[in-house]
Amino acid sequence: MAVSISFSYTFQVRGLAGARGERWLFEGLDLDLAPGEALAVTGPNGAGKTTLLRILAGLLPAEEGSLCWRPEPAEDQVRLHYLGHQNSVKGALSAAENLAFWQRLAGASDPDAFARAASTFALNDLLDLPTRVLSAGQKRRLALARLVAIPAPLWLLDEPTTALDAVSADAFAAAVSDHRAAGGMAIIATHQDLGFQPTHRLRMGREG
C-alpha cells in the first residue's frame, strides 16, 4: 500500500543517561537513526527499555545527554508517536471516536489515513463499539492504528505486539515496513520476535 507522505529526518542521541529513583539504568548511550531505519531494543525485565523510550519521547527527564533532530521539524509537525505499555484509549468512546480524537489533537484529520488505519488493523467491524468492551488484543490494535492514522517520522513502541494474535502481528510488521519505506524511523522495545529485520539492535541490562 503506497503511503503518500515521506520523511527524511535523522534522529541522533548523544551520551544519554537515564535513572529511576536512585537506580542508574544506562549511561553514555549514543544512537543514530537515518530515514527508513529501525532499532530493536531488547533486554531483561527492568533493564530500562521503557525508561529509554519515555526519555526519547520527552516524557521523562534524562540525567545527561542530548537529543537532536536533523533537520529540526516544524513546530506543528507531529514528531513522534509514543506507544507505551498502556493503550491510551478512552473506554467510554467508540473506537472511531478515539481514532478521530487523536487525529484532531494532532491537527491531522485525514479521512484516507483514517480508513487506511482501520483496515490495516481490521477494526472496521469494531469502529462503533465502545472501546471498553473490546478485547485486550482489539484494544491494542486500536492503539496501533494511531500510528497509521497520523503520519510521524519517529515511532517509539514499547512491546507493541502485546496481546496480538498471529494475524494482527503480521499486520503490524507490514505497517512498520510501510513506515520505513516512507523514510520513517522506529525504535521498538520487545521480548518477542518482531517478524521483520531491524537495522540495529540494542541489548540493555547487565544480564545481557
Binding site: R23, P61, G65
Partner: protein, 262 residues
C-alpha cells in the same frame, strides 16, 4: 534539506531539573552560610534582648489597652515575617522554575515550615490580643481569614513537596502553587482597607510618617530585626541539612552507577 545546524542541538527537557540529587556544587553556598551564621546569631540575640527589654519594660503602656499592648511586639513582627516568608517562598519558586536552580527549590522547601510557624504565631498572638481588645478570640473578617488562607497555602506547599515519588516533581508542583498563591499577599495587606474590619489599619508600615509613638516604634523595629534574623538563621540551617541529605542520596546513586557500569 537544510544542513544540520548546531543550534538544532537541544538538551533533553528537564535534564537540569532532574539534577536535584547531585547538583551544581553548592560549595560556594555552604562557605557563605558558614561565614554568615555566627553574625546572624549575634544580631538576632542582641536585637531580641534589646527588643524584649524596651518592649516589656521600658515602653509606655497604651492608655486604653494597658499592658496588653505589649502583645504587639510579638504579634506584628510575626505577621510581617509570615508574609515575608511567603515572599521568599515565591521568589525561590520562581527562580527554581525559570532558571532550574536546584538550590532555589531547596530554599523554598526549607522556608515553608518556618513561614508557617510565624503564621501560626501571628494567628495565636493575634487572637490572644483579640480577646481583651475586641472581646473575642476570633472574628471572620477579611484580614484574619486571609491569614488563615496563608497558613493553608504553606501547608499545601509542604503537602505537595511530599506527595510524589520523585522529589523533583514535588518541587516543581509546589513551586507552581507558591507562585499562584502570591495573589493572597495583597489581599492580606490591603484587606484592612478594602473591607471594614475590626483589625488595625496600617499605622506603622503605611506610606509617610508612622502614626505611632517612637517609644513603641523602637522596640517593635528591634523585634522585627530579631525575627528576621531568626528566620534567616533557621533557613540556612535547614538548607544545610537538606544539602547533607542530598549528598547521601548522591552517594547512593553514584554507587549504584558504579555497580551498573559494565
Amino acid at each position: 534539506m537544510t544542513a544540520s545546524t548546531p543550534s538544532s542541538e537541544q538538551p533533553v527537557p528537564g535534564v537540569r531539573g532532574s539534577a536535584l540529587h547531585r547538583f551544581a556544587n553548592p560549595a560556594r553556598f555552604l562557605r557563605l552560610a558558614r561565614a554568615v551564621q555566627p553574625w546572624l546569631l549575634a544580631v538576632t540575640l542582641v536585637s531580641l534582648l534589646a527588643g524584649l527589654y524596651f518592649g516589656l519594660v521600658a515602653s509606655p503602656i497604651d492608655y486604653q489597652q494597658k499592658d496588653t499592648v505589649r502583645i504587639m511586639y510579638v504579634h506584628v513582627p510575626a505577621a510581617w515575617m509570615a508574609m515575608f516568608g511567603y515572599s521568599t517562598l515565591a521568589i525561590a519558586s520562581a527562580v527554581g522554575l525559570i532558571w532550574k536552580h536546584p538550590l532555589a527549590d531547596l530554599a523554598g522547601k526549607a522556608a515553608a515550615p518556618i513561614g508557617a510557624g510565624f503564621t501560626i504565631i501571628a494567628l495565636a498572638t493575634g487572637s490572644l490580643w483579640g480577646k481583651p481588645t475586641w472581646g473575642t478570640w476570633w472574628v471572620w473578617d477579611a484580614r484574619l481569614t486571609s491569614v488563615v488562607v496563608l497558613l493553608f497555602l504553606y501547608l499545601g506547599y509542604i503537602a505537595l513537596w511530599n506527595a510524589f515519588e520523585q522529589p523533583q516533581r514535588g518541587a516543581k508542583a509546589a513551586a507552581v502553587l507558591a507562585l499562584v498563591g502570591i495573589v493572597n499577599l495583597p489581599i492580606i495587606k490591603f484587606s484592612v482597607d478594602w473591607w471594614n474590619t475590626l483589625h488595625q489599619p496600617a499605622s506603622i508600615s503605611r506610606i509617610g510618617t508612622p502614626a505611632i509613638d517612637p517609644a513603641m516604634l523602637t522596640p517593635l523595629l528591634l523585634m522585627a530585626v530579631a525575627y528576621l534574623g531568626l528566620f534567616l538563621l533557621l533557613l540556612l540551617l535547614r538548607m544545610r541539612v537538606e544539602l547533607a541529605e542530598r549528598r547521601v542520596a548522591a552517594l547512593q546513586l553514584s554507587r549504584s552507577r558504579a555497580g551498573e557500569s559494565r
